[in-house]
C-alpha cells in the first residue's frame, strides 16, 4: 500500500467522490488556481473546472450561507474555511440555519454539507489563526463533528461525511497535513461515530484527538519502558461519539487520561470525562480522571511559548503516572 500525506488523502477523498457524484462541489477562499491556503485543493480546479471548484469572496458567512442554500436545494457542497478560527463568522449560518433547518422544517429538506477546516497551533500563526474550537460545534444539536488524526482516517471519514445527509464539521490539523500514512487507493468509507484504538493496552486509557493522538502514542512508547501499558483511543468522531469503546476501555484499565489541544476549560475533554464518570466504567475507576488541554490563554506567537501552552508528550506521560499508585 502506498504512503501519502494527510493532505493528499483529503484531496483524494474529495476527488474520488466528485468523480462519482456530480452534485458534490467545493467552495472556499483561494481554493481554485491557488490550490488552497495549505495546498489541499491543488490541481482540482484543473480537473473539475471553476463551477465545481469555486473561489469565493472573503466572507465565511456568505460561504456558509451559500452552502446551506445549495445543500437545501439538492447539492452536496464541501466548504473549506481557510483557518478554523474563522468559523466564528460562519457560525450563524452553521448553528442557526444548517443545524436547525431539517428539524424546524419537520424533516422536509435536509442540509447535506461538509465544512472542512484546519485548526490547531504549532505553525507560529499566533492567536487568531491557531485555535481549536471543535467544542463549540460539538455543543450544537444538528451538527456532526469529525476530527481525523491520520491520513487513512481522513480519507475514509471525509467520504462518510460527504455521504451523510447532515451538516458535518470536518476538523483537520495544520501540523498533520504533512504526516504520511498508508492509504488505500480505492475509495473507502469509515463510518462516522466509530472510535479507533490506535494502541491497545491494559494499564491506562488515553483518549486523544487529532494531533494529540500522535503525542499520546509517543508517550505510550516512553511509558512502555517503565512497564506501563497505555491504551490510546482515538474517538475520530466527536459527534456522534463512540461512547461504548471509551467506556469499555476504561472498564478494562480502570484509569483515564483525556487529552486534546483545545483549551481545557470547556473543552470536549470535560464531556468525555463526565460521561465516563456517569457510565458503568465509574465502578472500575481506580484513580481520578486526568484531563489535559491547552492553557486558557490565546496562542502565543513566540514558538517556545506556543509549545508550552498546549499539552506535550511529557505532560501526557506525567498525567498517566499520576493515575498509577505504587504500593
Amino acid at each position: 500500500m502506498r504512503e501519502i500525506t494527510y493532505l493528499e488523502a483529503v484531496r483524494e477523498a474529495m476527488t474520488q467522490i466528485m468523480r462519482e457524484n456530480p452534485d458534490v462541489y467545493i467552495m472556499g477562499e483561494d481554493i481554485g488556481v491557488y490550490g488552497g491556503a495549505f495546498g489541499v485543493t491543488r490541481g482540482m480546479v484543473e480537473e473539475f473546472g471553476p463551477e465545481r471548484v469555486r473561489d469565493t469572496p472573503i466572507s465565511e458567512a456568505a460561504l456558509a450561507g451559500a452552502a446551506v442554500g445549495s445543500a437545501l436545494t439538492g447539492m452536496r457542497p464541501i466548504v473549506e474555511i481557510q483557518f478554523s478560527d474563522f468559523i466564528t463568522i460562519a457560525a450563524d449560518q452553521l448553528v442557526n440555519q444548517a443545524a436547525k433547518i431539517r428539524y424546524m422544517y419537520g424533516g422536509k429538506g435536509k442540509v447535506p454539507m461538509v465544512v472542512r477546516t484546519p485548526g490547531g497551533s504549532g505553525t507560529g500563526a499566533a492567536a487568531q489563526h491557531s485555535q481549536s474550537l471543535e467544542a463549540w460545534m460539538a455543543h450544537i444539536p444538528g451538527l456532526k463533528v469529525v476530527q481525523p488524526s491520520t491520513a487513512y482516517d481522513a480519507k475514509g471519514l471525509l467520504r462518510a461525511a460527504v455521504e451523510d445527509d447532515n451538516p458535518v464539521i470536518f476538523y483537520e490539523h495544520k501540523l498533520l497535513y504533512r504526516t504520511k500514512g498508508h492509504v488505500p487507493e480505492e475509495p473507502y468509507t469509515i463510518p462516522l461515530g466509530q472510535a479507533d484504538i490506535k494502541r491497545p493496552g491494559k494499564d491506562v486509557t488515553v483518549v486523544a484527538t487529532s494531533i494529540m493522538v500522535h503525542k499520546a502514542l509517543e508517550a505510550a512508547k516512553i511509558l512502555e519502558q517503565e512497564g506501563i501499558d497505555a491504551e490510546v483511543v482515538d474517538p475520530r468522531t466527536l459527534v456522534p461519539l463512540d461512547e461504548e469503546t471509551i467506556v469499555n476501555s476504561v472498564k478494562k484499565t480502570g484509569r483515564l487520561v483525556v487529552v486534546h489541544e483545545a483549551v481545557k476549560r470547556g473543552g470536549f475533554g470535560g464531556e468525555i470525562a463526565s460521561l465516563v464518570a456517569e457510565s458503568e466504567a465509574f465502578d472500575y475507576l481506580d484513580a481520578p480522571i486526568q484531563r489535559l488541554g491547552g492553557l486558557p490563554v490565546p496562542i502565543p506567537c513566540n514558538p517556545e511559548l506556543e509549545r508550552r501552552v498546549v499539552p506535550q508528550v511529557e505532560d501526557i506521560v506525567a498525567a498517566v503516572k499520576k493515575t498509577i499508585v505504587k504500593r
Binding site: 480502570g254 465509574f282 465502578d283 472500575y284 475507576l285 481506580d286 484513580a287 481520578p288 499508585v325 505504587k326 504500593r327
Partner: protein, 448 residues
C-alpha cells in the same frame, strides 16, 4: 452562633459512648482546651476537651447516658443564645466540629466527620468517610471487606484497587473443602479460625477446635455426675453465698513472735502429744479467744431471730481429694495448744479417712480456713452456714513493713475475715480482726 458538642467516635468500631461525668455545669464558662466531659467506650475511659470557648449553654445528657457517636450532646456559645430544647436528631453537617480527642490513651486516629449531606456508605464504612476509588469500593463491596481496615496507598490515604486486593490476599481464608463444610454447619466464621495446615490452611480439626464447647467432645473431656460430697458442697456454698451478704476484711499480722512461740513449744507439744504444733493451732486458739471477747461475732440468724451463741466451737476446714469438710473443735477457747494440736491432727486424719461422725462436723460457732500452705495471701472465704463469720488464713511471707520509721522485713500473714453483714457490721468485725492481729503479734495474750 452556638457550637455543638459531639459524642466523639474514638475508635473504628465505636458506635455509642457512655457519658461518665461532666466537668462543667450548664452556664459555666468553658475555654477551648479544657476538659469538658468524660466518656466511656467498651474499652476505655477518655476525657474529652472542649474545642470552643464560651458558656456551656446546654447539656442534653447526663452521666450514665449512652449516646450514639456524632450525636450532639451539648452546645457552647454566648450567654443568652438560643439552643434547641432537645438535641438535634442527626449530627449537623458542615461545621459539625472535629471528632478528634485530646487525651486518647490508645493513640488511635479519629475518623473524619461525615461530609455535608452525604448519607453513610452502605455496608463498608461505618460512619466515617473513607477515601477509596470506585474500583476499590466495588471490590470491597463484592468481597465484604470493611474499607476502614485497609490502608490506602494513594494520595491522602486513598484506597486503590491494589490495596483491597492486597488485603484480600493477606486475609484470604484458605480452608479445605471439608473444613469449609464443617465451619458452615457449625456456624463458625472461618476468618476467626487459625489454620494448622500448609500455609495456614484451615483443616477440619482447626474448625473443631474453634467450636464453642457445646457438648464435650468424645475423647478429651470426662463427665462426672454431681453427687455426694461435691453436690453438698455446691449446694451449701451457693446457699451461703447467695443468702448472706459477705463482706471480707483483711489485715496483715507480724508473725515473728508466733514463730518464736511455736519453735519453743514444738518439742514440748510433740513430747506430750506425739504431734507437731503448727501455726494453724495457734491461730485457732487466738481466734477462739478473740471470739470469747467478741460476742457479736458469735451470732447466728435463725428466721426472725438472732441467736447469740455461748460456746466457742471452732471449725477447721480440711481439704480432701473429693472436696472439703469442716470438723469442729469444741470449746477451742478452753483448750491449750497441746490439746488443740492433738485434736486438730486427729480430726484431720479422721477427715481424710472419711471417718468423721455427724457430731464432729456440726455445732461450730466459727470456722478457720487455712490456705497458707499455698502461695495465697488474701482470699474471700465463704461462710460456713449457720455461722456468721469465717477466717481465711494466708501464707506467712517475708514482707517489707514500716516500723518506727524504718523498713524492715517481717514474716507477715494475711488474715481475711468474711462476715455476714445481715447480723454483723463492719465495725465489730473490724474490732475482732484487730484484736486477733494484736493477739498474734503479742501471743502472750493467749495466756490471759
Amino acid at each position: 452562633m452556638a457550637k455543638p458538642v459531639i459524642m466523639p467516635k474514638l475508635g473504628m468500631t465505636m458506635e455509642t459512648g457512655t457519658i461518665i461525668r461532666w466537668f462543667k455545669e450548664e452556664g459555666e464558662p468553658v475555654k477551648a482546651g479544657e476538659v469538658l466531659f468524660e466518656v466511656m467506650t467498651d474499652k476505655i475511659n477518655i476525657e474529652v476537651e472542649s474545642y470552643e470557648t464560651g458558656i456551656l449553654l446546654k447539656r442534653y445528657y447526663e452521666a450514665e447516658a449512652v449516646v450514639p457517636v456524632n450525636h450532639v450532646i451539648a452546645y457552647i456559645g454566648e450567654a443568652g443564645e438560643q439552643v434547641p430544647e432537645r438535641p438535634p436528631e442527626d449530627a449537623p453537617s458542615g461545621e459539625a466540629g472535629e471528632t478528634k480527642t485530646a487525651s486518647l490513651s490508645e493513640g488511635r486516629p479519629a475518623e473524619e466527620p461525615p461530609a455535608e449531606g452525604t448519607p453513610a456508605e452502605e455496608g463498608d464504612s461505618g460512619g466515617g468517610k473513607v477515601r477509596a476509588t470506585p474500583a476499590a469500593r466495588r471490590l470491597a463491596r463484592e468481597r465484604g471487606v470493611p474499607l476502614e481496615q485497609i490502608r490506602g496507598s494513594g494520595e491522602r490515604g486513598r484506597i486503590h484497587l491494589a490495596d483491597v486486593e492486597a488485603y484480600l490476599e493477606e486475609h484470604a481464608v484458605r480452608a479445605t473443602p471439608l473444613a469449609r463444610k464443617a465451619a458452615e454447619a457449625e456456624g463458625i466464621d472461618l476468618r476467626t479460625v487459625t489454620g494448622s495446615g500448609v500455609h495456614g490452611k484451615i483443616m477440619k480439626q482447626d474448625v473443631e477446635a474453634a467450636r464453642a464447647p457445646a457438648a464435650p467432645s468424645a475423647a478429651d473431656e470426662k463427665m462426672v455426675k454431681l453427687e455426694g460430697m461435691r453436690k453438698i458442697i455446691a449446694r451449701r456454698m451457693s446457699e451461703s453465698a447467695f443468702t448472706a451478704p459477705h463482706v471480707t476484711l483483711s489485715t496483715e499480722a507480724d508473725m515473728t513472735r508466733v514463730i518464736e512461740l511455736r519453735e519453743s513449744l514444738l518439742p514440748i507439744v510433740e513430747q506430750q502429744t506425739g504431734y507437731r504444733l503448727s501455726y494453724t493451732e495457734v491461730i485457732v486458739k487466738a481466734a477462739a479467744m478473740c471470739l470469747r471477747r467478741h460476742p457479736q461475732m458469735r451470732v447466728q440468724l435463725q428466721g426472725e431471730y438472732i441467736r447469740y451463741v455461748q460456746d466457742v466451737h471452732v471449725g477447721l476446714a480440711i481439704a480432701l481429694e473429693q472436696g472439703l469438710i469442716v470438723p469442729v473443735i469444741r470449746h477451742a477457747d478452753q483448750k491449750g495448744l497441746a490439746e488443740l494440736t492433738r485434736e486438730c491432727k486427729t480430726l484431720a486424719s479422721l477427715a481424710r479417712e472419711n471417718k468423721l461422725t455427724p457430731d464432729q462436723i456440726t455445732g461450730g460457732t466459727f470456722t478457720v480456713s487455712n490456705l497458707g500452705m499455698y502461695a495465697v495471701d488474701m482470699f474471700t472465704p465463704i461462710i460456713n452456714q449457720p455461722e456468721s463469720a469465717i477466717l481465711g488464713v494466708g501464707r506467712i511471707a517475708e514482707k517489707a513493713v514500716g516500723l518506727g520509721g524504718q523498713i524492715v522485713l517481717r514474716p507477715m500473714i494475711t488474715l481475711s475475715l468474711s462476715f455476714d453483714h445481715r447480723v454483723i457490721d463492719g465495725a465489730p468485725a473490724a474490732a475482732f480482726l484487730t484484736d486477733l492481729k494484736r493477739m498474734l503479734e503479742n501471743p502472750y495474750e493467749l495466756l490471759i
